[in-house]
Symmetry: none
Subunit: 403 residues, 2 copies
């Protein structure tokens, strides 16, 4: 019905990737024994390892275990230890144990039980005819620890190599430009591999190595990262294995013991919001002003009436006076400012929707950047604001590096 | 690799459920043409409607369109209109259009193009041999509007009844409380249906009716909404079919010709960011201050040194002085302020992580609310900040209603 987002699939894939196990298929079917049996048969025919989540509970909808046993040709037998554990669980909760809960102690003959430390339904592990079939519970808080603590040790025995990866964060270069710059390198690589991902207006490049040890894997990755730096340009890479722009910025500011302040118009508080997302931001950020009218730009930030009248609020002059103004008010080492038109209304031929000026001011580095961010789509207001805020963070990072 | 949680599947299922279309299978395969072709064949053999997401972009990994065309036995042809649109997109961005972007204008012969208003890759609709195959882009911000605006009208034609729904927006009441208040009503209903969804700390109640016409459907919904209002309490419902709190707020402020101003500490600019998300916000919002240190609270907002010393920044007194201060500086009709501890560090027994004070000040309505927002999870910083900002918006709405 679409009420639940399947976070289990991504969690399991990530864990298996770390073991070098390729996930080729992921399927979802409802609580229907016929479709479930078909899906299980199909999965067992095309893969070595099949992992299911959900349908292990006590209700009549829960039929994964019974269906799996039938598909594998195994009878169900009562597991005495499990029956004892479930009985004890209800005794501890001081709740009556209903008859349908006994169903949870039934196990396919020959299967191993995977311990559930966070719920009543045990997991099931069947190893038969060269196939591994693992049945895990549905709720992530039960599934994740069972996968990590019970199933992973079993699967690790089958994996020969260790997989490690590092992620290069690129700003200011589009995904297709990254790909065309790295096309030959990507195609020439087998191990490590190199894969680009576009995310929120940035490009991430993941380098993954398979090796006998994590240490050896990281060693193999180093020269690839060096090649990437050369191809993309060091100035367009803001970090390796860093969470995002704001985290890289706050980290560097803390290292250098510097402070920033924000003066926002078009981004409406988004730059300060992103900086303060990072825990510990209060050490490097004290003051932001969102000046959404010319009167406030003048009164609070000290942008001169003359500048506003002569150049309007959509000008590099206004942006720079905002940045200098907030630096003065706050006493911060670096000031950043944004002004522009996020739309959808308010644009003109001269000042179109998507026109943004970002200014940064510090002792060593002062610059205004003009951006044209419109893609001509409907409802791109948040896109324009977000990309503008990313440029502000990126320019703050450049200013911080200069100090 | 497990880097992306598939939210598309749940979104699509929910939409199809509203049309009475049963989703029997959901499958994921990687960017592998052989496995993708097999999955498509399998899906087309067992269902009437097949919807794919992802793989429509410009890179060599993106092969859904080509594979689908091959499975359906259709040659690829260049779509002139799409090529023009993509060329124009790059012209506007002032970026060179690389050769691989032209690939996005190729369309299976006889297929219809689904417009993408949020990205370059168009969607594809193939109706052939009694089957419907729709190819949608992967990024949710492109996929969701394309599904809603382009594909849903096509699918609706195959549904005998018209489905209409209205959504009641509830704030300040938890999902289980809503469910227990409405349990009997929900169970007694067959058409319209009533379904609660928890979203970002709010509860949405969707009332869906199936009828011969949209008009008749909306008529059937009205008495249900009246019952919901009675059960939940009118004061906890901030709108019906309104996008979110900030949209409801900006709309009401514009109607009443009133202005608000924000003074933020713990939310770090998130309140002003959410207000300025709404197009036209500049008519009702001019000024926000993000005062992330006591010195700025004092210097910019006029919070007295005595208050900060005696009660600390984590106090109702500080919150109220911040709200009054920003109202005075900005000349706005209503001031709102937030102060508290988002964590993970900085909490104490007296002032734990999650403690937030939200103050609102206006001529008719002034109030400070104390919130304890911690759920005891790791990485809840953004949750605390977001819920705090929602309370600020909700209190601004109450103040606006009072004026």
């Amino acid at each position: 019905m679409g009420d639940i987002v399947n976070t289990n699939a991504a969690y399991i894939s990530k864990r298996l990737a770390a073991l070098g196990i390729n996930v080729f298929h992921q399927s979802v079917v409802g609580d229907n024994p016929k479709r479930l049996a078909e899906s299980l048969k199909e999965a067992l025919a095309r893969c070595n390892v099949v992992i299911t989540t959900g349908g292990l509970g006590p209700t009549c909808d829960d039929l994964t275990k019974e269906t799996a046993a039938q598909v594998m040709g195994l009878p169900m037998v009562e597991n005495t230890a499990e029956l004892g554990r479930i009985t004890e669980y209800f005794r501890m909760l001081d709740r009556p144990m209903t008859e349908n809960n006994k169903k949870q102690a039934l196990v396919p003959s020959g299967a191993a039980v995977l311990k559930n430390n966070y719920g009543t339904a045990p997991g099931i592990l069947i190893e038969k005819d060269g196939k591994i079939l693992a049945l895990l519970p549905g709720p992530p808080r039960e599934m994740c620890p069972m996968l990590d603590n019970e199933l992973m040790p079993v699967l690790e025995k089958y994996s020969e190599k260790t997989f490690v990866s590092r992620t290069v964060h690129i700003f200011n270069v589009g995904e297709s430009a990254v790909e065309s710059k790295l096309h030959d390198l990507m195609n020439s690589l087998e191990n490590p591999t190199l894969a680009p991902y576009a995310k929120d207006g940035e490009v991430l490049l993941r380098v993954t190595a398979a090796a006998e040890s994590a240490e050896k894997g990281y060693e193999m990755i180093e020269p690839i990262i060096a090649k990437v730096r050369k191809a993309i340009g060091d100035e367009n890479i803001y970090g390796v294995d860093v969470e995002n722009l704001q985290t890289a910025l706050v980290r560097l500011l803390r290292e250098k013991n510097l402070k920033v302040a924000t003066a926002e118009s078009v981004t409406g508080g988004l730059v300060s919001k992103r900086i303060t997302e990072v825990s510990g931001a209060s050490e490097v950020f004290e003051c932001g002003v969102c000046s959404y009218s010319n009167s406030i730009k003048n009164k609070l930030l000290g942008v001169s009436r003359e500048t506003l009248d002569r150049f309007t609020e959509y000008s590099p002059e206004t942006a720079m006076e905002m940045a200098k103004g907030i630096r003065e008010i706050s006493g911060a080492d670096i000031g950043v400012a944004t002004t522009g038109i996020a739309g959808p209304n308010g644009g003109s031929a001269e000042n179109p929707v998507g026109l943004v000026y970002v200014a940064v001011d510090s002792d060593n580095y002062s610059e205004v950047k003009k951006l044209l961010l419109s893609r001509g789509y409907a409802e791109e207001r948040e896109f324009i604001r977000y990309i503008a805020s990313s440029h502000a963070l990126y320019m703050l990072l450049k200013a911080t590096e200069s100090l």
